[in-house]
Subunit: 137 residues, 6 copies
């Protein structure tokens, strides 16, 4: 009995899209408003999906309190009320696009969750824009 459970979480952060090797003109042309020099920010909504075999004794795939505590300790405490570019190790040299952010979140959780569970992350930067990793196929 292979199921997926999905836990929703969120954090609020500032960021700026910028490639340090480009001129200001090129950055503005490629990233537009998202290159705004003093940062802007988002309420990020996130779904963490785990897939695996349900434990027949508990009827649980994974204890949701454990999952929610893990997301708080590893993702929310790291990124919530932070400036992604200035306050985090992960984006010192990586452009904080939603694509890169979802990839970073996946890798942080991948190390903390046992390998028998598949993981997928969906991250909303706004109500209209979201990214999923890994892709379905």
């Amino acid at each position: 009995m292979r199921v997926s459970i999905i836990r929703r979480a969120h954090f609020n952060a500032a960021h700026r899209l910028h490639n340090q090797e480009w001129s200001d003109e090129k950055n503005l042309k490629v990233f537009g408003l998202c290159n705004s020099p003093n940062y802007h920010g988002h309420n990020y909504d996130m779904e963490v999906k785990l897939t695996g075999e349900t434990d027949p004794v508990t009827g649980y795939l994974y204890d949701l309190k454990d999952l929610s505590d893990l997301i708080k300790a590893e993702i929310e405490d790291r990124f919530d009320h932070k400036n992604l570019n200035l306050d985090t190790e992960e984006f010192k040299d990586l452009n904080p696009t939603t694509e890169n952010l979802v990839y970073v979140i996946y890798n942080i959780l991948r190390e903390k969750i046992a390998p028998e569970y598949d993981i997928k992350i969906r991250l909303w930067e706004t109500a209209r824009n979201s990214v999923e990793y890994p892709a379905d196929s």
Copy 2:
């Protein structure tokens, strides 16, 4: 032309997570607040997804009125305004976790929907917690 249609429905039910073979202490430790002895409850939201080939004459994969009537007769009338532990056959000896509930719903609908349609169920216990069965892979 292989498409999926998704119909959203909901029901309101009480339940309690409990393993009858365990002590009260162990039940409380594993299930926490969800083991509360006099039950608690949820507004369950559900998406039923059918996948198959569109009928070129009607342009329908499946008549949505038929699907909605089927969900009402087989799922809503069975679980809505019920105590899952006390009022249903399905959970007499099965712990009503969301994982088990989504599996039960899948099997009820699987018997009533022609085999040329694949079925997938997503069930939200709260706005933040949901389960999907069968898993994507």
Copy 3:
């Protein structure tokens, strides 16, 4: 500068609508499915609205962390994962309709929040049904 702040919270509870002085027939006739004997349940969503004068030094009407802690201590811890009829003092002799529940919540918070703040509560029993107290006029 008179403003309102609105904080959203939620809890999950079981209940049953029942008037102990009526026959079973009359209870069923008046309360229908909501009279189901073994209880059913809901994810209650709640908005607590405070109205008053903003403090010009902080720019706050009321510290939202304090408000959120108060709602947790006084409302969520009291009602979340509970059976309203069996587990709470407030509904020992009071029918747990949404009207009565919103009135009870208002009175609990009214005692804990300084009188210079007006309070209004909106409570959703389901996505389609909600109640507000006190009424606008």
Copy 4:
């Protein structure tokens, strides 16, 4: 690093489900209220999902401004505030069911988006009914 980005958009349109080769009685029997002769309408919500490899230089899968402009030019300008049956080439001889509409939208975008990106469309006709094309499997 294979990711998916999802962009949400919407348009408002009128339509009527009708098979021109059938009698009025048969149309009414099969399509019910949706066959109402003077049309009815919907706020269509749409998610366009692109899957491919992130560009390591920009950290983008696809420029979201380009995607949003493309959706506006090709889908919103074509269908928004239109009568699908009377005002569009696509549904002159095709019944505007949600299944057919999602297939039409897919094919319009497929021609405009480079083949290294996979495309999937999800279209909501109402909050409770939606269709996805192509299906997951």
Copy 5:
């Protein structure tokens, strides 16, 4: 104990904004896309709010099943899957703007609901545009 209850409902309809006494040019100038000649449509969401005194015996302000049946009989059956301009008496000579529609709905319900209940209607034409009648002050 004066409370308000709010019931949410919806219907799907086609319409066109048009003043029959104006030229086509003026209609297009004033109403823009909403004047599109072959109609367009919306999923209308509606909240009906009743305000009054709770009955101390039932704990109800108004039976929600009665309210929901009334909304179905008087509003949904009248407007759902209809063309507001062509299929309804109410908009034969009245422009179906959201302002006029909310006023019409208010007056239909006002005649069917006892005068001790105040009524307020909020109607969403899209997720971003809504109208309320009567106004708060």
Copy 6:
């Protein structure tokens, strides 16, 4: 016929809560995470409500395209993708709490909208926290 129309809009911005006359310790104590030195950010959702008399010739209270253009020009272009503390005149010397932000937005729009329309603003900083100005009473 006095009605209200409500238009929803949004913008994404960075900010930091800070009182320049206080020590760092006091700022941290009062504003907590919101005092984070390098800013954080939000997707702000906003409802602008206008109340007045419907024009009987158009059936409009206020042209929604005009209102939406005004909100874009005066609010979105000013605050979207900006750092409220560093990039705006309005918050040079004013702490960008949601209470102060809603008051600033009200005053900007109040100057641009004719006085026969009452204005009320509701602003969501997150899905759980919002502020309304002016207050209902």
